[in-house]
């Protein structure tokens, strides 16, 4: 069995057949995972300096030079690297006195911090499969982003105390601004809210849970929320799965969610699992928290400092060298910020060519985790998953690349 690193579900039931050393058949992959497997043969990165192909050793040496000579280097990415690579990355940041940040900085970070610090109750996906009866997909769309979430864990499967599966034993609620594929599955459990309407919906739910009439203009919606309050109270084991829709609506005001989580746990038992995208974002957050007391946005320039000034979207204004690993930062950020990134001398480490590697001064190709490189990672629920390489390739793992840069700095 292989492990798919296509998303933070880290599906560990991937069956493979081989012919002449190449994968000839796969079973159990979702469409996204299938894409990752197909990418083995597509757009692979080559070692290069200033656009000219060089040997691997030369690329390492130029990367070390570029980072070592900088006053304010920024090391970014990490969510697509193994726990082992992340640890070396943090050590490299310490050695360089660099700023280190990851994709959670403009993604699930504010919420993940609450979970990792134990401020929000959480559970494993296996517990969800065995016990959960009310599932709230809030601003999340697993059908598109974590495609096997509903079939392996949350909605469709039969579990220890949910022997009748979704037919009778589970209720799916979807709170969203659009009719996503997950909303279609939740059907009558869909609550359409306006963009940015999450805080108001939290208030309405709190009212309904307290037996009060929610302050909602639409009469049908008012009635529906009251009924939802009743459903939520009757739950035996409820789970909230917040996605970027909710996070981007609340951002640094994530505390607005706290009274609802508290109230839900007064009327019943509710857990929360952030719907992480990249396969090991949680791993980086957990590792950095253990090392520094912070989940992201850390500078090692003068001891350990943390703050919004070290968020990648801000640090880009001050840094004079950038290393990006396993992330297409130029694609992911607003063009105005990407323009600033494009001016910074960059080392890009990635299995594939992308916009960031195309703008980098030094590119270093890497192995694809779970396919060409082994290691371990934390699933979205914090469960550690180990994986082995399933095919031989000449590409080096992030661990090897980072160790070599570390030695050369």
């Amino acid at each position: 069995m292989a492990v798919c690193t296509g998303c933070s579900l880290l599906c560990d039931d991937i069956e493979l057949e081989f012919e002449d050393g190449k994968i000839s058949l796969t079973k159990n992959l979702c469409r996204k995972g299938e894409g990752r497997y197909r990418s083995l043969r597509e757009d692979r990165l080559v070692p290069a300096v200033d656009g000219a192909k060089v040997g691997f050793d030369e690329a390492i040496s130029r990367a070390a030079e570029l980072l070592g000579d900088a006053e304010n280097p920024l090391l970014f990415g990490w969510s697509n690297s193994s726990l082992e690579a992340q640890r070396i990355g943090i050590d490299l940041a310490k050695k360089l006195g660099a700023t280190i940040d990851d994709t959670s900085s403009f993604c699930q970070g504010y919420l993940m911090e609450k979970v990792l610090r134990g401020e929000y109750p959480t559970c494993t996906l296996d517990e969800v499969r065995n016990f959960a009866d009310v599932l709230i997909y809030w601003g999340s769309d697993p059908s598109s982003s974590q495609p096997r979430h509903m079939s392996r864990f949350s909605y469709f499967p039969r579990g220890e105390k949910r022997q009748r599966g979704y037919d009778e034993d589970r209720t799916a609620i979807a709170i969203d601004v659009r009719k996503s594929p997950t909303v279609v599955i939740a059907a009558d459990g869909f609550f359409r809210i306006p963009p940015g309407g999450d805080a108001e919906f939290i208030e309405a739910l709190l009212a309904a849970l307290g037996g009060k009439i929610p302050k909602v203009k639409d009469k049908k919606m008012k009635k529906k929320i009251l009924k939802l309050g009743s459903t939520l109270r009757k739950a035996e084991f409820g789970v909230v799965f917040p996605g970027l829709g909710l996070i981007y609506s609340l951002k640094d005001e994530i505390d607005k969610l706290t009274p609802l989580i508290t109230r839900l746990n007064e009327v019943s038992s509710y857990k929360l699992i952030p719907m992480v995208g990249h396969y090991n974002m949680r791993g980086f957050n957990q590792t950095l928290l253990e090392e520094t007391g912070h989940i992201n946005r850390v500078s090692f320039k003068d001891g350990v400092e943390h703050g919004t000034q070290f968020a990648v979207t801000e640090a880009v204004n001050d840094c004079d060298a950038l290393m990006v690993i396993g992330s297409d930062l130029i694609s992911a950020l607003p063009a105005a910020i990407s323009k600033k990134l494009a001016r910074i001398p960059t080392v890009a480490i990635d299995p594939h060519r992308n916009l960031t590697t195309d703008m980098a001064r030094v590119t270093i190709p890497s192995a694809i985790s779970g396919l060409e490189a082994g290691g371990s990672a934390l699933r979205m629920d914090g469960v550690k998953v180990e994986f082995e390489p399933v095919i031989k390739s000449g590409y080096r793992s992030d661990v090897e690349i980072l160790s070599r840069i570390m030695e050369a700095v």
Binding site: V177, Y248, E314
Partner: protein, 132 residues
């Protein structure tokens, strides 16, 4: 040229996610990314039809993408949807407020019909590089 003001909410699409895994530079990735889903009434206002190109403009930038008729059950004038991609990111403001997270899911924009072709990813890259 008639314009319509919209708030754009970005989203993820599994077919686009699959295409992204395979390569940012493929035609398939562009076809599944360079899109805006519009309300039927808004399409009428700017005299465009499903499959035609539109220009989308914000204070942050401009992009030409294909207009698609939204498949939502309810009318949603003033609300549009785009897959999250380098195309939608051309429009996002660099103002990140106190959270330092860009406003990826509430983009205020103006949409108008155009006879220009959909921007290629190479054109987006050139624009990003232009200020070198």
């Amino acid at each position: 040229m008639a314009k319509v003001e919209v708030t754009i909410v970005t989203y993820r699409d599994i077919f686009q996610e699959e295409a992204k895994e395979i390569g940012r530079y493929s035609d398939e990735y562009r076809d599944l990314s360079a899109l805006i889903l519009l309300d039927r009434g808004d399409m009428k206002l700017i005299k465009t039809e499903d499959g035609q190109t539109v220009q989308v403009e914000t204070d942050g930038g401009m992009v030409v993408v294909t207009a698609r008729l939204s498949e939502e059950d309810e009318e949603h004038p003033g609300l549009a949807f785009m897959p999250n991609s380098p195309w939608s990111n051309q429009l996002v403001s660099e103002d990140t407020g106190t959270s330092k997270i860009p406003e990826f899911k509430r983009i205020k924009a103006e949409v108008s019909a155009t006879d220009k072709d959909v921007d290629t990813i190479s054109e987006l890259v050139e624009r990003i590089r232009a200020d070198y």
